[in-house]
Symmetry: C2
Subunit: 191 residues, 2 copies
């Protein structure tokens, strides 16, 4: 749990009082590998802070899946859209490995937001960070070919490659596993 506090320090320093108020609302949870944390159609009423493990955030339409994001230790995971709007989630959150995380309920979080401006601000920082991540990802779809996106992934996010099977990477890149396989083949030929 102290690890979590350290992660927050990247964004903002919470006083002991603020941290106590926050942390006593957290509930520790564990999830086996390949298990749903949030189902499709469910309203997301929580934010989870990952201590250990990995999650994928994906969308299932007519049996086809697309992975919107991966989350790892130190990340906050939630369907933020459903959380904010109160609408049923279109996405599924699934653990990829056995994971440990801390859940805070929306109701509790909003009470903290009201009681502690610093925690509200932490919420802003988290939202801003989410925005930066997804905006960068959007730009990569606007400008780059799947091959370029794969290269960038290799370079920047090697954690993904260790923990995530090929076909999920393909989904994350917005292509089919067959296409990723061909991209990889083209690459070895060049090298």
């Amino acid at each position: 749990m102290e690890g979590l506090r350290k992660h927050f320090e990247k964004f903002i320093h919470l006083t002991d009082k603020e941290w106590d108020a926050f942390s006593c609302k957290l509930q520790r949870k564990q999830l086996a590998a390949r298990t749903y944390l949030l189902e499709q159609g469910e309203v997301c009423t929580f934010v989870a802070f990952i201590e250990k493990g990995a999650f994928r955030f994906f969308y299932n339409r007519d049996g086809e899946e697309r992975i919107t994001a991966f989350f790892f230790a130190g990340d906050a995971v939630s369907n933020y859209r459903s959380f904010l709007t109160g609408l049923p989630s279109e996405h599924i959150i699934e653990s990829l490995q056995e994971s440990v995380f801390w859940i805070i309920q929306k109701k509790d979080l909003y009470e903290l937001f009201n009681a502690y401006p610093n925690i509200d601000r932490l919420g802003r920082f988290i939202a801003e960070n989410l925005y930066l991540t997804v905006a960068r990802r959007l730009d990569s779809f606007l400008f780059d070919s799947p091959e370029k996106r794969y290269d960038d992934l290799l370079r920047r996010n090697s954690r993904l490659l260790q923990d995530v099977p090929q076909f999920m990477l393909a989904s994350y890149l917005g292509i089919k596993p067959e296409s990723l396989s061909r991209i990889r083949k083209r690459k070895t030929k060049k090298a």
Copy 2:
């Protein structure tokens, strides 16, 4: 300026005191059509609230352009990435029409954040909203064909079609003008 306050009411109610503190930091500006509000390489130190007009937020690489977003009356426009990180902007913000907007400087805004928790929270709401917009857009790139994205644009965002030339729409959809032209042709054949 009261129009701007009304827009904020969608997110949060500011007291007169809060609004006064905020609004006296705003500077009214005007810009002719097709003029840069932010250059590539410049650090973005402001947020602009649009009263009238339209902007495009785009990226220029080796002479090729991709439009990341459009902004219209009621929207907050900024290079939020550059604003938050202090890094030079990769994107350009350009007015599409003659526009009127209110600028607030980062320094002033951060002072307001510190002095008025409600304004800090408004900042959170704006960041959250930005996130929702860009996350939805990312999903459309993950799942939908350019043709589907164009259809959705027609249905949801007719304002874009009135104010924005074809070749910019293509760029926004992540395709070339020729391809958009062909998509439109396929459409008329079907109908």
